[in-house]
């Protein structure tokens, strides 16, 4: 079975390191890319062909300059309507536990889910059903 193409957007080195280790240790079927900011992520996504475009994007909320919400707004404006993005699932992966943030996050267009760190097999299982529905 082919691995999923996955993008993690998180500003902190440590969080990216831990995401990487968790993906490996939980044996998640991901070909993952780790990017440090929303701006870079947008640039990266704009550069991707339909072939390479990630199927899953995990977004941290609390990031400097362009936070997770800003990123999703930009993504919706620039990318969501392109054919290459049609099968992509967006979700937040954050350490935030605030109800108001969760509510705001889930209210956004094209957001499928809101998960708390760290990334686990349980999260992937939950995501799979959403992927199949796409």
């Amino acid at each position: 079975m082919k691995n999923y193409k996955v993008l993690f957007i998180d500003d902190r080195e440590m969080d990216n390191l831990l995401n990487r280790l968790m993906v490996r240790e939980e044996q998640l079927p991901f070909d993952a890319t780790y990017i440090n900011s929303g701006e870079e992520a947008l640039e990266f996504l704009n550069d991707q062909t339909e072939e390479d475009f990630p199927q899953i994007i995990f977004i941290d909320i609390n990031m400097p300059v362009m936070n997770g919400f800003d990123f999703v707004d930009e993504y919706n404006a620039q990318l969501a309507n392109q054919p290459k993005a049609i099968n992509t699932v967006l979700c937040f992966l954050t350490s935030s536990s605030s109800d108001s943030e969760k509510e705001r996050a889930l209210g956004m267009q094209n957001i499928s889910a809101f998960y708390n760190k760290p990334i686990t097999m349980a999260i992937f299982v939950d995501l799979q059903s959403r992927l199949n529905n796409k």
Partner: protein, 520 residues
Amino acid sequence: MKTVKSNYSNFFQEHFSAILDQTDEFVWTLDVNLNIIDYNCAFYDSFSKLVGLEDIQYTSIVNPVLGNSVTDAWKRYIAETITAGAPQIFKIVNDNPQKGMSEYSETQISPIYNERGELCRFFVRSRDLSASFNIQRDLQRANEELLRSMDLYRTLATQIPNFGVVIFDKDYRYLLCEGTALATVGLSKEHYEGRTMLEAMSEEGIKALRPQYDAALNGEYLSFEYQALNRQYHAQIVPIKDSNGQVFRGMILVNDVTDVKRAEQVLANTNRVLEEEVLARTAELKSTNQELREINQYLDDFVHAAAHDLRSPIVNLKTILHLLETIGDNQEREGLIAVLPSLVQDIGNTLDGMIRMVEFQKKDQLLVSLLSFNDVFSNALKVFEYSNEIQLAEIDFDFSKADSIWYIAPKLQSLFYNLLSNALKYASPERNLKLRVTSHREGELVRLDFLDNGIGIDLDQHRNNLFKPFRRFASEGITGAGLGLSLVKSMVEKNGGSIEVESVIDEYTLFKIRLVPYPQ
């Protein structure tokens, strides 16, 4: 004379009937038994109505219909006339004018004797004098009233301190001049009472006062205030009218209103002071309320931010502990273990900050007090006592140009805390932090400058977002939720202060914060 129903004896008919019917007077004759014999039209009109008879000849003048008082009076008039043996005049006042009798009349009764010298008739003429009587009576009453009121005025004038009353007539004659306040208008009882203005006053006085007296005599009311001998007086010149509404006198009233004015002034002042106090108190309450709300909001924001700051390292800690259970590679395990102290340090710092914040909030919070910048800044530094960054930082401060300010303690503490925290967060990884904090006077305001050599801010890109909550402006190695600057901005702007920023990327950032002192 409408109904002519007169009847005269031959004597009268022959001699006088034509004349007698032309007069308004009542003319009639009585026989010795007091029966009416002759009468003219005027008498008939009045009397026949009075007794209710068409034919009044031989009707007794002493008629029970007229009532006892009238018949008794007539018996007396007749007796007096007989005794006198000559015409008598009686002034008759009727207490019962409703019955149709004149209120006041003058009646002449003349005895008439025959050739033998015997009394045979009474010749009677009556004139109705009611109209003129009423006028006279009113005049008399008005005079009495006036005398009474003049007495009253006199009493008032002498009893009330600094009061005066003057009454003058149409000839400007002073009928009454009483009271100690008169001196203030140049009048005295001795000099003026009984004399006219024209006799008693100088030409100048006459010139000044005559128009005012005339105005009163024309029915006008004058009222004015003036000052004399350091006191305040109120004068009125008013017309006095008789019962017909005709002005026939004028009156001057002079009243010392100094004390009333003073009392009014005091009352007005007291009222104003009270009003001011109420306003001030209301404003104070409002601002206290506002402060409370702000501090609550601040605490809310802070708790939210702190919770987030705590949660992030704790989540990482848990993840690492989980990974340590599964990862076998020793090098990786050591790498993970090496990260643990910094996570614990993060948690510790955040908790310290929280504790310090709570302490800030505990003390006499909302009161404005004179705060020394040295004290407050040293206090804020203590929050970072245990952080690694501050050990390496070179922080110097000089508050000599403005050493203190009337401000709200937790606000100033929070300001220093947040700017310190900001400088530490955005220190350049390539060099130790240098932070210089100075104070400057700008008129009423105090400007605080925070100059650091940190990573700087790309103002072209971030100027608009700089002071919004939950913004961070660098991506590497910065913790915290980015609340600080937005809080500082909202705090200083609350009472008219401002915050501005200059920066060059990777060189320096300078915050200029202008504080407006709170009223003491």
